[in-house]
């Protein structure tokens, strides 16, 4: 280490002199460079987090700034955890999360597997498949409301054409039974390409020579798939699940544009519900406690998951 510094100072005597003139050590310069980032992080991430935790123990309302703030202890948390409406919201979120992940992983992996076969024009297909992911969620939400239109919507028309049912006999967004699936379909349409790209990276990381060895070892294609492809892509798949899981737990824009949480509150996911509590009902203290609960659960689940992921990786 000291040798390195020696050669460095020999190579750049001018730089050395400069830092001596200013009286700054390397470490001090490093701090100067990273301090703006740290300050911004503290200001926009860490401080609001701590402030939220503080607010969650009060009955503060942001639309009544002059009212005296009362410390209420854990009462906000009690009320949230015993509120049956919130559990319905949680169920809606779970339904959305589980089905989008299952569908996106299955379809995404299948697409990646097919695209990875060497055929003519697979680059072009990759580009086409990836397109939905590049659109704005608000735009996607908006135009799917047209596709879902019972009278003129393309989605209803295609479903009607395939199944023989009358296209205007059902409404994906308006129907209580169908609405939860309407958001699953759109999210899957939009984000499956993302899962496909990650799976493709995983598939491309497996060298051909390993399949050649397996072929010489008389492993069938089926066995190669289950004993080589799947185990070697698994860390990538798990990473995709983590990304999609975190993203969809905080899903907001797409669903607000598409259903607005309706009909009723059937598709009101937690983040939409939270926004309503905080910025429509202005129950700031209550909403803060809600946010803290969500944060802790995402953080907890993600940490456990990352541990599992590392275990799979090091296997």
């Amino acid at each position: 280490m000291s040798e390195e510094t020696n050669t460095q100072s020999k190579q750049s005597p001018s730089g050395n002199r400069l830092s001596k003139v200013r009286g700054l050590s390397d470490r001090a310069i490093a701090w100067i460079f990273i301090s703006p980032t740290i300050l911004i992080l503290l200001a926009i991430n860490i401080f609001p987090l701590i402030w939220t935790v503080y607010l969650s123990f009060t009955n503060y309302r942001v639309n009544r700034p002059n009212k005296e703030v009362e410390f209420v202890g854990l009462r906000n948390y009690e009320r949230i955890l015993s509120d049956s409406d919130i559990w319905i919201t949680m169920q809606a979120t779970a339904h959305f999360l589980i089905w989008t992940i299952i569908l996106q992983v299955v379809i995404g992996f299948t697409l990646a597997y097919l695209i990875n076969k060497k055929f003519k024009g697979n680059d072009l297909w990759t580009t086409i498949i990836v397109l939905p992911m590049m659109l704005s969620p608000a735009v996607v939400g908006n135009f799917w409301t047209f596709l879902y239109q019972p009278q003129i919507g393309l989605f209803n028309y295609v479903v009607g054409f395939v199944s023989g049912a009358d296209p205007s006999s059902f409404s994906m967004i308006g129907d209580v039974a169908l609405a939860p699936w309407s958001i699953v379909i759109v999210d899957t349409w939009m984000w499956t390409p993302f899962v496909m790209l990650i799976c493709l990276a995983g598939l491309r990381s497996i060298p051909d020579s390993i399949y050649e060895a397996a072929e010489c070892d008389r492993a069938s294609k089926w066995r190669q798939f289950w004993t080589i492809t799947i185990p070697m892509v698994l860390p990538f798949l798990m990473l995709a699940v983590l990304f999609r899981g975190i993203e969809n737990f905080k899903m907001f824009d797409l669903v607000v544009q598409l259903t607005g949480g309706g009909p009723g509150s059937i598709t009101e996911l937690t983040s939409i519900n939270l926004k309503r509590e905080a910025f429509e009902k202005w129950r700031t203290g209550y909403a803060s406690a809600y946010a803290v609960i969500l944060f802790v659960s995402i953080f907890g689940i993600a940490s456990i998951y990352v541990k599992a992921l590392n275990k799979v990786k090091s296997r």
Partner: protein, 331 residues
């Protein structure tokens, strides 16, 4: 174990011909070594026999069955890859078990365990059986790769420079071990190398490849003592055969352009005078670098020679090889 026949096998990759009408019979229970520099078509030949690549023309017969269109699994061949190609997510044991677990073999669990430990013992990797293969050294990985082939009883073993990444001692040990395994079990083996010591010590037959053509095929002694060309003669023998203008020692047969002299074809102490330029003591032998008529000759002499640089030494050719202007052997 079985006989393998290649008949007029050709293969091109885009515009370059990797193999050009290669025909060869790999006899049952033989140890065939393919020699040649990189690009000569050694590995391509191996991949043709394995079924990983299909020939453009020609046919391949294993044990009397034409297998040209068969998959590697149908051919029942075991291959050792140069770049190991182990299953990185599996342990050493799981790697060795992998071929035995093929439904085509239907091996009993007990037999799998026994075979794996026997092979691990043989290759000195028993203590590593439960390690992940990615934790092994290069030499250990290569031994696992050899082991993965040895647990099976295939029609033919195909090995692509399996010893090239091992250290000298292990290489010498495994050379003897592989030869012993082959002669004990009567396995047929097709082996690619550019190490002539491996070729001389292990092979029952050597095939010399040059730019996709099989130029000579036969027992190693025959190729050493009776090479068809300068190219084939240069593949075997250390120090290499000396190639000089044909008339350097006087008369030469008609059409001869070059004379080829191996160390044992140079008689010392008689004939014409040469100057010693360098003496290399290798322990068991001593190499002499001679200057003769402005040409350098490398030969071997007594290990305890008194000769030193600058001395004069008389030399004379004996039973020399003569080659024409294309390098083809005349006499």
């Amino acid at each position: 174990m079985s006989e393998v026949i290649l008949d007029q096998v050709s293969k091109s990759f885009s515009d370059t011909a990797a193999l050009d009408k290669v025909s060869m019979i790999i006899p049952d229970e033989s140890f065939v070594v393919l020699l040649g520099p990189s690009g000569a078509g050694k590995t391509t030949t191996l991949r043709m026999v394995s079924g990983l690549d299909k020939p453009d023309s020609g046919s391949i017969v294993i044990e009397g069955v034409t297998v040209t269109d068969h998959t590697p699994a149908q051919r029942n061949v075991a291959m050792v890859f140069q770049q190991y190609s182990l299953y990185p997510h599996l342990t050493v044991r799981e790697n060795l078990e992998f071929p035995l677990k093929s439904p085509l073999l239907n091996t009993a669990k007990k037999d799998i365990g026994e075979k794996v430990s026997a092979v691990a013992e043989l290759l000195q990797i028993s203590h590593k059986l439960d390690n992940k293969v990615t934790e092994l050294s290069g030499g250990e990985m290569q031994r696992v790769s050899i082991g993965r082939a040895l647990v099976r009883t295939p029609n033919i073993f195909l090995m692509d420079e399996p010893l090239s990444s091992l250290d000298a001692k292990l290489r010498a040990d495994l050379r003897i071990e592989l030869k012993r395994i082959q002669s004990d079990s009567g396995a047929t083996l097709l082996y690619v190398t550019h190490d002539q010591i491996e070729a001389m010590t292990m092979a029952t037959h050597v095939g010399v490849l040059d730019k996709g053509k099989l130029v000579q095929f036969g027992p190693p002694r025959e190729i050493y003592e009776n090479p068809v060309s300068i190219y084939a003669a240069s593949r075997l023998g250390q120090p290499r055969i000396n190639v000089l203008p044909a008339d350097i020692f006087g008369s030469a047969p008609g059409g001869a352009k070059f004379i080829g002299l191996r160390p044992e074809q140079i008689v010392q102490g008689r004939g014409e005078s040469a100057t010693v330029r360098r003496v290399e003591h290798l322990g068991d032998q001593t190499r002499l670098h001679l200057l003769f008529n402005k040409h350098e000759i490398i030969t071997v002499t007594d290990a305890h020679t008194e000769l030193k640089s600058g001395d004069e030494l008389r030399i004379q050719p004996k039973d020399a090889f003569f080659f024409d202007d294309q390098g083809i052997r005349l006499i």
